[in-house]
Each structure stands twice: as structure tokens, then as C-alpha cells.
């Protein structure tokens, strides 16, 4: 087995007396698609928020490619090669699809400030490179009809795709998807399954997704982790986890 891309060891997150996550240990292997399932309140989104530094962990260790994530400031997460989407969609609402995707390029070289102000030829070339990357993502996710539309006027399903696109524009090594299928119709969910396959196979990006839709999990996940009460309850293949007695009990409240 390779060295894990991401490793969490005994991580905890407390809000006062409330333990959202306690003693969570898990690893993500390079190149896999890992699905994280679990009943509401199991701490799935909290786990993503810890790893992407939205919250500060109360204890434990988190390492991404050897970097100690607990010591990385929030704005450096993108630079490390971590990207994510949100359950409630966090886009720049008063900007166009293209602007949102171009924001994903913010972490890359943008030239010197005076070049930017004067738009020198060297800078224009640099921007054309960024634009080419963004256009590749637009083509991949079939977003071209909405390229210049404002986010505020877009349907929910399209916004989810734009957010996925923006995450891809940061060229991550590890992509977190927080309930990517929620609110999508079956057709959109099928598209999403193909895209996740391609993201892994063609772009070489490792994917961790928090998801309730078991059809999507079945279709794309190599491995499943079931969380309950802030820790890992079971892990293995989709079938193993689905037939785990503890998992059934956690969902049914047994």
C-alpha cells in the first residue's frame, strides 16, 4: 500500500461540551474515490471543515502529503492542493460563471502588481493560460451555455456544477465533495457520476465525497467509510459497509 495522501489520527472537535467529532482516525489513499456516509449529525461535514481549516480541531493530528494541516492557515489550503464544494453552495453570487471559475486560479501566479494594473503583454499571455485552463473545465462540465450568466440567476443544479468547476480550476490533488448529489435530479446525478469517474481517471484527482445517495456511492466509490457520533463506525467496500450490523443500527436508531 502507498503512503496515504491524507491521514487523520485521533482527531476531535468540541464546541463547548458538545463533541461533534471524537477520536476520528481515517486515511485517504492516492487515486481512490472514498465515500463518507452516515446518519445526520455523524460529523461528516465537520470532518471536511476540519481538514479544510474552516474549523480548528480540538485535538489529534491531520497530515496531507506530510504537511501538518493543523498548522496551515486557511488561505493556504488551496495552495496545498486541497479543494472542496459545500453542501449549501458557496459561490460569488453577483459574479458570472466565468468570474467564479477564474477565481479558482487566484492561487496561481498572476504577475506583478504593476503588470496587472497596466495589463502588459506578458500578463495578458499569463491570463490567456489561466483562461485556457478555465475553458477546459467549462467544456468538461458542459457549462458553456452559462459562461457569462450571473450566479444569482442560475438554477440550483447548475450552481452545484459551477462550484465543482471552481474547485477543479484550482487544480487540486484531493477534492472534497459535500453532498454533491443533494438537490439534483436523477439525470443530473448520472452526469455527476460520470464526471467523478473522469475526475479520477483523466485528471488524476483523488476524491472524497460525503453523500447520502447510495446509487451514486455504488456507482463511483472504491471504498466507503460510515461515520456515526463523530467517529468511524465501519469501513470497507460498499457491500461490506451496507451489511455491517452497526451501520444498520445507526441508521435505524437501534
Amino acid at each position: 500500500m502507498n503512503a496515504p495522501l491524507l491521514e487523520l489520527r485521533n482527531v476531535s472537535l468540541h464546541f463547548g461540551g458538545l463533541k461533534a467529532i471524537s477520536g476520528l482516525s481515517m486515511t485517504v489513499q492516492p487515486g481512490e474515490v472514498l465515500a463518507v456516509i452516515g446518519p445526520n449529525g455523524a460529523g461528516k461535514t465537520s470532518m471536511l471543515n476540519l481538514v479544510t481549516r474552516v474549523f480548528n480541531a480540538s485535538g489529534g493530528e491531520m497530515h496531507f502529503k506530510g504537511a501538518d494541516l493543523r498548522r496551515v492557515p486557511r488561505h493556504r489550503i488551496a495552495h496545498l492542493g486541497l479543494a472542496r464544494t459545500y453542501q449549501n453552495i458557496e459561490l460569488f453570487e453577483n459574479a458570472t460563471v466565468l468570474d467564479n471559475l477564474m477565481l479558482g486560479r487566484q492561487r496561481f501566479d498572476q504577475g506583478r502588481w504593476w503588470q496587472q494594473l497596466l495589463r502588459t503583454p506578458a500578463l495578458t499571455r499569463m491570463e490567456e493560460d489561466h483562461r485556457a485552463q478555465v475553458e477546459a473545465v467549462i467544456e468538461f462540465l458542459e457549462l458553456s451555455p452559462w459562461r457569462n450568466a450571473l450566479i444569482a440567476g442560475l438554477p440550483y443544479g447548475v450552481r452545484k456544477v459551477v462550484e465543482l468547476g471552481r474547485a477543479l480550476c484550482t487544480q487540486p490533488e484531493l477534492l472534497f465533495l459535500d453532498e454533491p448529489a443533494s438537490g439534483l435530479n436523477p439525470e443530473e446525478t448520472r452526469d455527476l457520476a460520470f464526471w467523478i469517474e473522469d475526475i479520477r481517471a483523466d485528471l488524476g484527482i483523488t476524491v472524497v465525497m460525503v453523500e447520502h445517495d447510495m446509487s451514486l456511492v455504488n456507482a463511483v466509490a472504491d471504498r466507503v467509510i460510515c461515520m456515526a457520533q463523530g467517529a468511524v463506525l465501519a469501513e470497507g467496500t460498499v457491500e461490506e459497509v451496507q451489511n455491517h450490523p452497526g451501520v444498520i443500527a445507526a441508521y435505524l436508531g437501534g
Binding site: R84, E93, L103, Q106
Partner: protein
């Protein structure tokens, strides 16, 4: 040209010059509000502090005007940066009213500090254009007013280029729309917000340095905060073009009221407009749709 028309042209010019300064102040307040959701009531007092420092540099130390302007811009930029980084940032996430209370308190403290350091008297200083005027079609315009218009126009254009073209300008727009998303695309949101305050402080300094020669260097200059607020509401709350338009209109209305209306109207004209707009068209001239997302 008939004397009435000449008078009208002159008043219009005065109005545009004063209005340009109001616009610059309103612009600073709106920039900070959009980026950080803090309505900075201390903005006018940063302006006052800047004007007094400019007076000290020019009248007491004999520095040239442009040198004093640049020094005061840098100082007030740094001061506003520090104000955010050390004080205002602490209330991020609190209800908006906390920001209002905090910045009003800061305003009083800065005003007190100015009185303590520079004394309570009004002061004045000379500019390279003091007492000079230009004749156009038989109407004479004060040169300082022409310079003010030029400077405000240049700053507005510079800011427009900055926000449109530079990485930092784009990062400022991004974090003003969605801080969480900005963070995870690699924007250093806290630092960017403090830099917006610095930008606001520097524009307040310019406004102060150019307002002082046509008013007086006095702590009462802080009242321009209220004029700027009237301008912001008139133009449409949260709109940058609206702030500029509103500033110009308030400047004009004030000057016209001073000449064509009975004595006393000049001082309250801005507030009458404010009340009128709030009653008749609360979203202002260029205002965005109201109501906050929940």
C-alpha cells in the same frame, strides 16, 4: 454672460468641487462596508486626523503640499489598517450594531486625540493654488476647485483599474461577496479586509487634505461623515457608482440651497434630502435590490 447665469455657473462649480470630496468620502465608507459589513462612523475622524497632520506638516514644518499629501495618505492608510487589524476585526461575526457602536466610540476617541495633540483651534494652510483663479467665459473659478475635481477623478479611475485588473482588487471583490469561498480559493481574507480599511483611510486622507483649504482644519470636519451617509443613501446603499453620484448631488444641492434658499437651509439640505430619499425611494438612485439573503 448675464450675472445670474455667471453666478449659477460658479455655484455649480463650487457644488461639484465640494461634491467630489463628499463622493470620495462616501466611496471610502462604501468600500469598507462592502468588504467588511462594517459601517465605519470613524471615517470622518480619520479624515480630521489626516487634515491636522497635513496642517502640521505644511504650516509648522514647511513641507511642500504634495509631499505632505503623500505622507498623510501613507500614515492614514497605516492607521486604518492597524485600526482594523487590532480593533475592528475582533467584532467580525457580531451583529451589525456592534460595528456601529464600536466605530462611533473610535470616532470620539480619535476626535479627542486630535484635540489633545493639536489643540481645539481651527487652523488653515496654504496650497499651491491658494488665491488663484481661472477665467472661463467671464466666470472665475478657483483653481483649487479644478484641482480637487482632477484629483478625485484620477483616484476614481485608479480605483476602478485596481479593482478590475489586479489580483488584490479581485481578491477584495471576492471576499466581499463570500468570505468562506474566498478563503478556500487562496485569498487571505483578514489581511485583504485590513487592506480595504487602509485604502479607505488613504482616500479619507486625500479628502481631508483637500477639504481643509476650502473649509478649515477643524474637528467639526467630522460632520462630513453624515453628509457622506446622506450621499450614500441618495445614490443607493452599497453601490459604488451610487456613492459617487450621491456625493456630487449632495454637494450641488447644498450649494444651491445656500444661495437660492433662505439662510440656514445650506446646513440642513443634505439631511432633508436624506429624509426625503428614505421616505420616497429607500433604495436610492442606483441602489441594488433590498433585503438580505438569509
Amino acid at each position: 454672460m448675464s450675472p445670474e447665469l455667471a453666478l449659477f455657473a460658479q455655484i455649480t462649480m463650487n457644488g461639484i468641487a465640494v461634491g467630489a470630496i463628499y463622493a470620495l468620502i462616501a466611496l471610502g465608507i462604501v468600500l469598507i462596508y462592502k468588504a467588511t459589513e462594517v459601517l465605519n462612523f470613524a471615517h470622518g475622524d480619520i479624515l480630521v486626523l489626516g487634515a491636522f497632520i497635513a496642517w502640521a506638516l505644511i504650516a509648522l514644518m514647511g513641507l511642500p503640499f504634495w509631499a505632505a499629501l503623500l505622507i498623510v495618505m501613507a500614515l492614514m492608510g497605516a492607521f486604518a489598517y492597524g485600526l482594523d487589524a487590532l480593533v475592528i476585526r475582533r467584532i467580525a461575526g457580531q451583529p451589525q450594531f456592534s460595528g456601529v457602536m464600536l466605530t462611533i466610540a473610535l470616532a470620539f476617541m480619535i476626535r479627542g486625540l486630535v484635540s489633545m495633540i493639536f489643540g481645539p483651534e481651527s487652523q488653515s494652510y496654504r496650497t499651491p493654488w491658494s488665491g488663484q483663479s481661472t477665467q472661463v467665459f467671464g466666470v472665475s473659478f478657483a483653481n483649487i476647485e479644478l484641482v480637487i475635481m482632477g484629483v478625485v477623478l484620477a483616484i476614481t479611475l485608479g480605483l476602478w483599474l485596481f479593482f478590475r485588473n489586479t489580483r488584490l482588487g479581485v481578491a477584495m471583490q471576492a471576499s466581499s461577496q463570500n468570505q468562506l469561498a474566498a478563503y478556500l480559493n487562496g485569498v487571505q481574507v483578514k489581511r485583504v479586509n485590513s487592506l480595504v480599511f487602509a485604502l479607505g483611510g488613504a482616500t479619507a486622507a486625500v479628502a481631508g487634505v483637500f477639504l481643509a483649504p476650502i473649509a478649515l482644519v477643524d474637528t467639526a470636519l467630522w460632520l462630513v461623515t453624515l453628509k457622506a451617509l446622506a450621499a450614500i443613501v441618495l445614490g443607493g446603499f452599497g453601490s459604488i457608482p451610487g456613492a459617487i453620484l450621491g456625493g456630487l448631488l449632495i454637494g450641488l444641492i447644498e450649494q444651491y440651497a445656500g444661495v437660492y434658499l433662505p439662510h440656514g437651509f445650506k446646513d440642513i439640505a443634505a439631511y432633508l434630502v436624506l429624509i426625503g430619499v428614505l421616505i420616497l425611494r429607500p433604495r436610492g438612485i442606483l441602489g441594488e435590490a433590498h433585503g438580505r439573503r438569509v
